[in-house]
Symmetry: C2
C-alpha cells in the first residue's frame, strides 16, 4: 500500500511569520498535523502554527514528558511514533510541528529515529532562538573567524565556565531556573557587560535586558543569554 | 524630514522557500532592495531572493570585498552605508538581503553599526546553513544538554582541534579550500565516522556525503561539516 510521508516542520521561534514559506505551505496542505505537548502546559509549536492550521486538518496531540529520565521519555516517543505511523500506513502525510528548528535541541529526532527506516521523511529547517534573540538585541551572534558556542544551562555550571573561557561568542539556552547560577558564572568570567538576556524572543511578550538589570530568580524556560566578546565592528 | 527604516532581511540558506514569511512580505513591499556582492562573482543573497523582488523595486548592489584586510573592507562598508543612508534620508525604506541569518557570520552587522544611531532598524532572522545541513542529512545538530560549537575553518587547525576535543556536536563552516586540513584534524580526533559534509544545502545542486567518500581537494566555500558525537537517540 502507498504510504504517507513524515514532515518535520520547523515553525521558528515564536512569531508565526518567522516560519519559512515552505513550512507554512505544508501546514496549509497536509492532512494530519501532529505536535508535542509537554505533560504540563500547552504546546508552543501548536500555538505558533495556529493561524495556519486548517479547520479540516486532523490534529494529533502527542504528550512528551519534559523529564530527564530516559524510560518515561522512551515510552512516550514509542507511543507517539506509533500514533504517527498509523496515519502514514493509511497513506496520509503527517506534518510534525517543531518550535524553532526540528534538529536543534528538539524532540523530533527521537521520532525520526523510530520512523525513518520505514517511511519517507522530509525535514524543513527553521529559525532558532539564538538567531531570534540576536535580532531582538540587534547585536551580532558571531562574525569572521569567531567560535560560537551554544551551551544549554542544563550542561552544568562547571562546563559553562570552561566553555565560556575559550568562546568568542556564546548563546546560553534553557536558562529558566538556572538564571542565578548562570549569571554568577558570567560575572566571575568578567563578561557581565557583554551579556544580554532575551526571553520569549519574537513572541510578542518578549523581554530584552542587559544582565545587570535583571532581578534574582528564575527566568522563563525559553530564555537565551547572548554573549559577544568581539570588539566593535570595523 | 521623515526618514526611512533599514531592514536586515535573512533570506535563508538557498532555497527561496526557506525564507521566512516576514522577509518574503517585506521584499515584496519595500521600495529599495540592497544586497552585498563579493568583488568577484554574483550575489548569493540576491539569487535567493530573485523570485520575490518586484520589477519596480530600486536595486542597490553594494560591492563588499571578501578579504581579511581591514582597510579595504572598512572603506567598502563606509561607502555601502552612505549609499543606503541616501535612500533613508529621502524617506525610502531599505531592505538589505542577507544570505542565511543577518547576524550569523554576515556583513550586515557592519552596516548596522554605521547606521543604527541615526535610523530606525528592524532585523528579520533567517535559517542558518547548519540548520539546513542538518535537515539535508536528517541528523541531529544537537540535543538535550549537548554543547554545540560553530567553528569557522578560518579559525585555524589548532583551534579546531582543541574545540572539537570538548564539543558534543560541531558545525564547521567556511570549509572551502581548508577541506583537506579540516578532514585531517577530524580523522586524528577519531571522528571521521561521525562527520558529514553538506555543500550548497538546499540550493538544488547540493552535495551530501560522509567525509570518507570525498576526494581530496577544495570544497565549495559554503560547505558545512556536521559532527554529532551523541549516541543513538533514546
Amino acid at each position: 500500500m502507498w504510504r504517507g510521508t513524515l514532515y518535520g516542520l520547523g515553525v521558528g521561534p515564536g512569531d508565526p511569520e518567522l516560519m519559512t514559506i515552505k513550512a507554512w505551505k505544508l501546514i496549509c496542505e497536509l492532512p494530519v498535523i501532529a505536535y508535542p505537548r509537554p505533560d504540563s502546559g500547552d504546546s508552543l509549536a501548536r500555538r505558533i502554527a495556529r493561524p495556519f492550521v486548517p479547520e479540516e486538518a486532523i490534529e494529533l496531540e502527542l504528550t512528551i514528558p519534559m523529564r530527564i529520565e530516559r524510560e518515561p521519555a522512551r515510552a512516550a516517543y514509542d507511543a507517539a511514533a506509533a500514533a504517527i505511523a498509523a496515519h502514514l500506513d493509511e497513506g496520509r502525510h503527517v506534518g510534525f510541528l517543531c518550535a524553532g528548528d526540528p534538529l536543534f535541541y528538539g524532540s523530533f529526532m527521537y521520532l525520526l529515529d523510530r520512523l525513518k527506516d520505514d517511511y519517507r521523511t522530509v525535514i524543513v529547517p527553521g529559525v532558532t532562538s539564538p538567531s531570534a534573540a540576536a535580532a531582538s538585541l540587534a547585536r551580532p551572534l558571531a562574525a569572521r573567524a569567531d567560535v560560537l558556542k551554544v551551551i544549554p544551562a542544563t550542561a552544568g555550571m562547571e562546563r559553562l565556565e570552561s566553555e565560556l573561557a575559550s568562546a568568542d561568542a556564546a548563546a546560553i539556552i534553557k536558562v529558566g531556573r538556572h538564571f542565578d547560577a548562570v549569571r554568577a558564572v558570567i560575572e566571575r568570567a568578567g563578561l557581565a557587560q557583554k551579556a544580554f538576556l532575551v526571553a520569549s524572543a519574537s513572541n510578542g511578550d518578549e523581554i530584552v535586558s542587559s544582565l545587570a538589570k535583571l532581578p534574582a530568580g528564575a527566568q522563563p524556560y525559553f530564555s537565551t543569554i547572548l554573549i559577544y566578546k568581539g570588539g566593535e565592528p570595523w
